[in-house]
Amino acid sequence: MIMHDLIIAWQNFWFKPQSPLSLCVFRIVFGLVFLTQILSQYWLDFSVFFGAHPFIPHEDFVAFWTRKNITLNLFELLPTDDFWHTAFFIVLGILTVMMIIGFCTRFSIILVFLSFASICHQYPFLMNAGDNMQRLVLFLLSFSGAGDCLSVDSYLKNKNGDWRKAVFDPPPCPAWATRMLQVQLAIAYISTALLKINSPIWFYGNGCYIATRLSDFAKFRVPVIFDHRISLYFMTWLTIFVEFAAGTLIWIKELRYWVILVGVCLHIGIDWAMNIPIFEFAFMSMYILFIDSEDMKKLGHWLKLLSKCFYIKKAYVSG
């Protein structure tokens, strides 16, 4: 009986049909974050790391890091030439735009994943946890129906029928890929919270203090909070609590939006105080996956009303 209940619970969790609306909104928002990442993070020092003569050649990484393991790296198939490496990045940008608009969605997501995994493996020491998360998101998205709505694909598939319904109100489908993305995010938060709680620096309240005293990370100044011991202790323990909550309490429906709210506050706070571009936005974008599709529809409706009000006001002002 228990076994049967477990199977039902497993099926219920992974395979129960859900509207793909949240997943498709996530595809667009995540795609925009990812596009910003590849446009802002690599091009200025492109030749230093990915050119024909980088600071540390890829062979050194193979010799000392990956060793005999086979890594996913399309650069190894390209000629060692600045032209080809530059072309690789341009193609990645184009594919990302295709992913955002949902044109040949699965194909473009798979290629974006292969390309980004190649970048990560070509010069692995440039990558941070935000890059890890984006690579894993792309991997899992390639199995999902992220192009089922809000996409050019869904329009083209139904252009002779009721395309509005297909694009904006798609039928439910098994949500196992969305679930995998949600669980992956929860694992990341729980893992980092556990590591912090096992560290004497964080446990005794010095984590935020030390992190905000590193001059290479400094961004905008935060008044008062980071000047006093009591607030620094509080912020350190609050960080651990929010990370735990974002991995655990987020699964409780009644608490979900509150957890998302404090999670967003935490990430915006970190992004304000510390120079870790894109990282926080990659994590924040994943909260969209936890938003109920009905609430997403309501949000869309409000935005539509808001834009109508704005349009009417603009028309009224212009006479």
Binding site: Q41, F55, I56, D60, N69, T192, K196, W202, A218
Partner: protein, 185 residues
């Protein structure tokens, strides 16, 4: 269709369940604490992770954040005894936009280069710097990689003021490379 009205065949459900279980088994092995069992299993799962591009690590400012604030530079000594200074890009001297656009440079030269885990890459880096200063009449003979910095002491001992970074009181040479003529070939 089964009792849950899942629009998916039982065969597909089983295949996807195996995929889900395998994925999270690899993730679990990757992120769990070090133990002999993990070391043994990880030899197999690491190959799968690297091949599929799903390796992961979530040690964001933990377990212990770096407690040393510094700026690295290299001193290049030439054949005639003269020296030149190469300062690695310093985020604290950049404007906000440049700091954002060059975050990966910070990652490479602040989070990786000076620390022992990455020491195997230092000769390559030193050779690269030597080549940048190549002069046939007066070639570089030595590259010393150093940093100036200060340790961030715990709040209980002495609180480092926020927003006014202290000048690097400590200087450390963390790597010295003797340049050979072969390095320029």
């Amino acid at each position: 269709m089964n009792s849950l009205s899942v629009p998916m065949s039982r065969r597909d459900q089983i295949l996807i369940s195996i995929f889900i279980a395998t994925y999270f088994f690899c993730v679990g092995i990757n992120i769990c604490g070090n133990c002999p069992l993990k070391t043994y299993v990880r030899q197999f799962t690491q190959s799968i992770e690297l091949f599929c591009g799903i390796e992961q690590s979530w040690n964001m400012f933990c377990p212990n954040p770096r407690d040393y604030s510094f700026h690295p530079y290299a001193i290049i000594t030439f054949q005639d005894g003269s020296t030149a200074l190469y300062e690695f890009p310093r985020p604290d001297k950049m404007n906000q936009l440049e700091e954002t656009l060059r975050e990966r440079v910070r990652k490479a030269f602040y989070d990786n280069m000076p620390w022992d885990d990455y020491s195997v890459f230092r000769p390559t880096l030193a050779r690269h710097i030597a080549r940048c200063f190549a002069n046939p009449k007066n070639p570089p003979t030595q590259v010393s990689m150093c940093y100036n910095g200060y340790r961030v002491t715990l709040m209980e001992n002495k609180m480092v003021p926020y927003g006014r970074p202290m000048r690097g009181a400590e200087r450390k040479t963390f790597f010295v490379y003797q340049v050979s003529p072969e390095d320029f070939k």
